[in-house]
Symmetry: C2
Subunit: 556 residues, 2 copies
């Protein structure tokens, strides 16, 4: 495939590029053989979602977002080699590229947790059934989707196969979340106010027996972190709950480049057993909401169920106040649906396992030796640079593949910057640089590439955030009444695809009174934003006076 | 408690200290008030295991190793706050100090795996029962200790409680190890020789329903890593098996400071389903062996059971060759029993979560402000230093506790270097420095402390290794016949404690022919060392000619 490029001078360039740099403007320079300007490809490279739908350019992912969004999502995952379904119902295999993305997420979050005073620990995979029973709402929320261990060995079944044997006295539940088993442990650790606060996080796998699963978004087993803290006062626990929502917001916006709305869940949407549930909500490219992280103020509900008591400074025995908060591999699903395009995955540089890939191009062994040496040297120079205050993650793709194959391999995997180096580039002390987010590509002197690489990555990171924010703002409306609401949230089309919609800000007076309409339209209350409009309005369903404005949306 | 110290000039000092630096020699200088030389304490500080048993000094851990080794082990864990038993039978809670030790182990191992070309991925927690059945020896090895999931929800039992409901069509096994489920996935990934090798590692929890459990050493659930690789040829797979044994050896000796013997398991001790099992074996302070890591050449056993086939370069369809290798949180048990003493945990600096702890000492608020400022400055200077090519891990203990309490807290947790800073130290631009491994302590100018800290930590690391190696060498013998063997491996005493024994090198001709004696004495063949004596000998039981010399020992 021919390579297209844009003169940095007329296009605004790669360095510090802003929104406007997405589109080529003015005349285009043409450099070198095999590098001809190609208007169709330029449209392709620089198209955005909406434009692309109307074009007929071939895309790396079939179907496109516009054709079939849910299937596009599966194909992006397949094309990027992130994960696949396993032989075990609802459980996924997270493949190396997907897992290294998760490792980068873990690393960033773990640093944030430690910087806010938390330590990691590890608690049992199993929860005795009787522990779940202690908190009524909690068990109500999880009983219907539990993996239950009932036996502790296998024995021959007499027909050449095996059968479970050694029944347990009490069944064990594979943890769907660990409030109860961790709470039982904390009850032993907490005696006095001097033992508080307890600020602990756990990285673990959990199991919720979902009937309809989808890679990353909803799987029977998933990986997550769950923070569990204990405090002497309600205020301190509530402060922790808010602080961890801030940490999640920081992570979503500054690492994932995914803008989120911070808010409080309505009673009907709370975590089972929580007094207050806070969440961050993101808009996907099909305008549906995705809950990306939750932080719960549990009041004394779990400390009463688990007997977490302490002697206060005044000498009284009091129940402690607890919180829990978590994010999971679901964030990978959110990341995919926020940034990816019809050519596959687009990764924010801050989390990309490889930020820059070098692709040597050569025709024979002599060229190969020269180009490889040149690449090795360039790789070292780039690795000595920093981006986001960390060493750059650069790789050379040494595989013997055709150039086009290599290129599309990395496009589909979302590597932020691809650098092609051939004999001509070498002769010019240059390299051919392509940005995954905008599709811009150009020849660039090596010195400039090395010097600007950190800035280029930052520019991509910023651009992805700005684009996602613009998308959300363009698809957020205020709706005053049921008629507007019905027009905005049309039913899914005959293929089950979402039509229209987005985020709607509406006043309402009672969750119960709007629930019927929401169920009918498959819309949910996402949250009451922390920065929601103050004052009063009119309930969009009943017309009654209302003091609460919330975000309504269809959701994952 | 008074502080004792040794003149660096006469003792060999802390910097670059060698074996001889363990014992004070020559005259001792006495500096400052409250710092009197105390012969009893000196004996205490500088005693080794054997000496200590004869002394009457008070120890931080009760009982001592000599009094009751198994109970000492539990008390070291408790004193260091590493882990505890949970409410779930056989499952442990790994507490923050224990978990951060595991994190450091993971970090070092993960780096080594990646440096040898491996990537991480994640596979399901559950294994369908039918998968286990496919490899006959494998299921034989694990069927008796499986947690079996048979239901996927809970329902009211009509008596106010819950009962399992929603029976599964096929029971699921909580993975005891993942050869079968990973193999089933690899069968889909591998089509051609071009897809090989596959070099993947997984960090995960596994469950083996052990009837008798002990923290870290043997728990129903434990954390581990399991590498699973696929190769086109037997030679390549065998080379991988050996390479990973080398990685484990490097980790055990250079990070854990734990000398190991590398060897091959006899057929009776192999991993169920393996063709060859290699292991590293370490000697604990009670002279029992502990298998610290295993690397298995699986031949084509699992590829035949799981249908992992590929088209070779010659166009033939062939079964692939696989390996697996793993280490677990059991290593923490090995670490404890290799280095700890009667005052608690001793950590090798390379893995210690905190390498240096600063303990400010003051009497009033004015002193506190000055001392704290001095400590903060010292902390920054130390953090700017490096040890083992990494930034130093230094902490200030800011808690309001008596000096003695603080000191013993960190002694029991095994922090390699403790630094006390009081007003007098400040006035002298000095600090009082104590080494956990030897107990040596002395006043030292700040400049010298900062400059030498990396060397001091290295000296501790080296000393721990040398001490453990000396211990193993002093307790390894060659035995020629059954009489010597019986005398060496006396039965445990009436309290079930091991008496005498160690590692015995013996020639033998047949595993079957020695098994009766081994069972009687509770001795096992640990391994045939890779560097075992070549040539021939005489079987120590039958007197027959023998070509194999192995290490025999009682074992964990």
């Amino acid at each position: 495939m021919n390579r297209c490029f844009v003169d940095p001078i007329v296009s605004g360039g790669l360095v510090g590029g802003d929104e406007s740099s997405k589109l080529p403007v003015g005349p285009l320079n043409i450099l070198g053989e095999n590098r001809t300007f190609c208007p169709i490809l330029a449209t392709f490279y620089f198209s955005n979602f909406q434009k692309h739908d109307m074009s007929t350019a071939k895309t790396a992912i079939t179907p496109t977002r516009a054709e079939d969004y849910p299937e596009w999502y599966q194909q992006v995952i397949k094309g990027a080699d992130l994960a696949e379904n396993s032989a075990v119902r609802g459980c996924m295999v997270i493949k190396p590229w997907g897992y290294s993305l998760w490792e980068n997420m873990q690393k960033a979050l773990d640093r944030m947790f430690k910087d806010t005073g938390h330590q990691n620990a590890y608690f049992p995979l199993f929860i005795p059934m009787s522990f779940l029973e202690k908190e009524a709402q909690h068990v109500e929320g999880f009983a219907k989707e539990c993996a239950v261990v009932t036996h502790h060995r296998l024995e021959p079944d007499g027909k050449g196969g095996l059968r479970p044997a050694g029944p347990l006295e009490e069944p064990l539940i594979v943890r769907p979340t660990s409030e109860t088993i961790i709470g039982a442990t904390y009850a032993k650790w907490v005696q006095s106010y001097r033992d508080l606060p307890i600020l602990i996080n756990q990285w673990a796998n959990v199991v919720r027996w979902e009937m309809r699963t989808r890679l990353f978004l909803r799987t029977a087993e998933f990986l997550w972190q769950e923070g569990h803290t204990v405090h002497a006062t309600a205020d301190e626990a509530m402060e922790e709950t808010r602080k961890m929502l801030d940490v999640y917001t920081d992570f979503a916006e500054n690492f994932m480049a995914m803008p989120v709305i911070r808010g409080e869940k309505t009673p009907g949407e709370r975590f089972p057993g929580a007094v207050t549930t806070l969440s961050i909500e993101a808009m996907m490219q099909d305008r549906k909401a995705l809950q990306a992280g939750t932080s719960h103020f549990l009041g004394q509900n779990f400390s009463k169920a688990q007997e977490i008591k302490f002697q206060s400074q005044a000498g009284q025995i009091e129940y402690a106040w607890t919180t829990s908060w978590g994010v999971s591999t679901r964030l990978i699903g959110a990341l995919i649906m926020t940034h990816s395009d019809d050519d596959g995955l687009v990764l924010p540089p801050r989390l990309a396992p490889t930020q820059v890939v070098l692709m040597p191009i050569y025709r024979d062994e002599q060229q190969k030796a020269d180009v490889m040496a040149y690449c090795e040297s360039l790789c070292k120079q780039l690795q000595a640079q920093r981006a986001f205050d960390e060493p750059l993650r650069v790789e050379i793709d040494r595989r013997e593949l055709r150039g086009g194959e290599k290129k599309w391999y990395h496009v589909k995997r979302g590597v932020p910057i691809r650098v092609e180096v051939g004999p001509k580039d070498m002769a010019n002390q240059a390299a051919f640089v392509a940005r995954r987010d905008t599709g811009e590509s150009r020849s660039m002197p090596i010195a400039m590439l090395v010097e600007s690489i950190g800035e280029q990555l930052k520019s991509i990171q910023d651009h992805l955030f700005a684009k996602a924010l613009a998308m959300r703002e363009a698809n957020t409306v205020e709706l005053a009444n049921e008629k507007e609401f019905r027009a905005y949230f049309q039913p899914d089309d005959e293929q089950g695809r979402s039509v229209g919609g987005g985020f709607a800000k509406c006043w309402f007076s009672s969750e119960q009174e709007v629930q019927g309409l929401l169920d009918e339209l498959k819309v949910t209350i996402r949250c009451i934003p922390l920065d929601a409009a103050q004052g009063t309005g009119t309930c969009f369903v009943t017309g009654k006076p209302a003091t609460t404005q919330a975000i309504f949306a269809k959701a994952y």
